[in-house]
Amino acid sequence: MQNPQLTDDGELKHLLSIEGLPKRILNQILDTAESFVGVAEREVKKVPLLRGKTVCNLFFENSTRTRTTFEIAAKRLSADVITLNVSTSSQSKGETILDTIDNLTAMHADMFVVRHAQSGAAHMIAKHVAPHISVINAGDGSHAHPTQGLLDVFTIRKYKPDMHNLRVAIVGDVLHSRVARSEIHALTTLGVPEVRVIAPKTLLPQDVEKLGVHVYHDMNEGLKDVDVVMMLRLQNERMTSAMLPSAQEYFKTYGLTAEKLAEAKHDAIVMHPGPMNRGVEIDSAVADGTQSVILPQVTYGIAVRMAVMSILAGN
C-alpha cells in the first residue's frame, strides 16, 4: 500500500509519522532546517515563503511548547496562523472533528497542525482533506510525534555530526511515549548503529526489540559509554495506575543524576522533550548542567517545524 504521507512521485505531502519515511526525506528536512536556524538571528526574523497561506493549529489536547513553536514557525514563514484549542470550542458543543475541518477548509485553510489524544487522528484528517491541504501530526495518542523526533535527531546531528558512530540511550516511559517511538524510527532510519532503551519492564512495549533497540533495565549498565541520553517525561497519571511504586522510588532507580550520567561518555549530551519533572526523571543539577541541550532542542524545534511546513507547502 502506498504511504499516505507521500505524493504519487514520492514527495512529502503530509507528515503523520516518521515510520515508513525514507532516509532521503528525513535528510531533506534536516538539511532544510539547517538553513532556517540562521533566520532567527537576523534583524527581520521572517522569510516570505508561506505569504498568503493560512495555517490552522488544531489542538484537541493541551500543549504549550509544541503549540507555541508551531505558531512561531508558521509566523516566521509569513503564514497567517490561527490556533484553536478545540477542547474549549465547538467540539464541546458536539461538532465532529471532520465537521470542524470542513468548516476551517471553507475558510480557506491551507495546512492543519493537529494534536489529538486519539492515535490515528491526524491520519484520519489527512485522508479526509482536499488535495491542496497538508496535515502535520503534532502528537496523536501514544502513536507518534514526528516533529519532536525530527528536532531531536537534528539536535543530535548538531552536537554529534557522525550519526553512523553513535550510541544513544532513551530512558523512561517508552510504553506510553509517542516521542520515544518517533525518536527510535528517526534514529534507526538515519543509520545510528546502537539505540538502547532503559526502563522498568512495566514501562516497555511487549515487542520493543522489534523496533531494533537494545533493552536495559539497569541505568548504570544501559548508560555505559553512550553519546546521547534522551530522557522521557514520566506522566504523573501512570504513577497512580500501579505501574510504579512512587515518584521517589522511580527517581532513585531511573532518575538521571550526575552520578549515573558519569557512566556515559564524558562529552555525552542530555536531552528531554519537556515538560520536565525535576526530581522525578531528571535531577535539576543535570537538567541545568553543562551537558544539557534541553533548551537548544526547543530553539531547533522552530527551525525543524519551519522546514517541514515549507517542504509540505511546496509539494
Binding site: 514527495e11 531533506q28 538539511d31 532544510t32 539547517e34 538553513s35 536556524v37 540562521g38 533566520v39 537576523r42 534583524e43 527581520v44 521572517k46 522569510v47 516570505p48 515563503l49 515549507s310 517542504i311 507547502a313 511546496g314 509539494n315
Partner: protein, 170 residues
Amino acid sequence: MNLPNAETLFETLAERIKPLIKANTAVVGIHSGGAWLAERLLPILGKDQGGEDLAHGILDVSFYRDDFNERGLHSETKPSHIPFDVQDKHILLIDDVFYTGRTIRAAMNELFDYGRPASITLAVLVNRGGRELPIAPQISAFDTELPDTQNLQLLRHENGTFYFTLEENT
C-alpha cells in the same frame, strides 16, 4: 555560439570590480556560482586594500524565490551566511549568469531582512540577456543574447578553475 573562456572572463571581472572597492564594502556571492566567484575574488580584492579582511558572505535565495508556489522548495537549500552588519554597507553582489533578474530581486529582498545597506552594486560574469524585471548588472565581463531555449551554466573543476556549459532546455 562559441562559449567564452570562463577563466579569462573571471580576470576581466576582477579588473572591473577592483576600482569599486572602498572602505565599508562587503562582497556577497549568490549560491552557488556567485559564491564560487566571490571566494576567488576575495584574495585579489582584499590584497589591493592592504588586507584580506574584506567583509563577505553567501546568500541562498531559496526562501525568497517568486516561483515557490509553482516549483516548491529546492531540494538542496544551503544556509545563507552573512556574518557582518549589513546596515550602511556598500554591498557588492556577485552572480555568475544574469538572466531574468528574478534571482537578484530575491537576493535584494533577503539582504534587506539583514539591515539597510548604503548601496548594492551587481557584478556578473555573463549577462546573457532576457531580463524580465527592471534590474540589470552594473558590471559584467561579457554580454550576449541567448535564446530562452538555452541554459548557460558556470561550473567548477576540482582544481577550482571555472568553465561554462551550454545546454538546450528540456
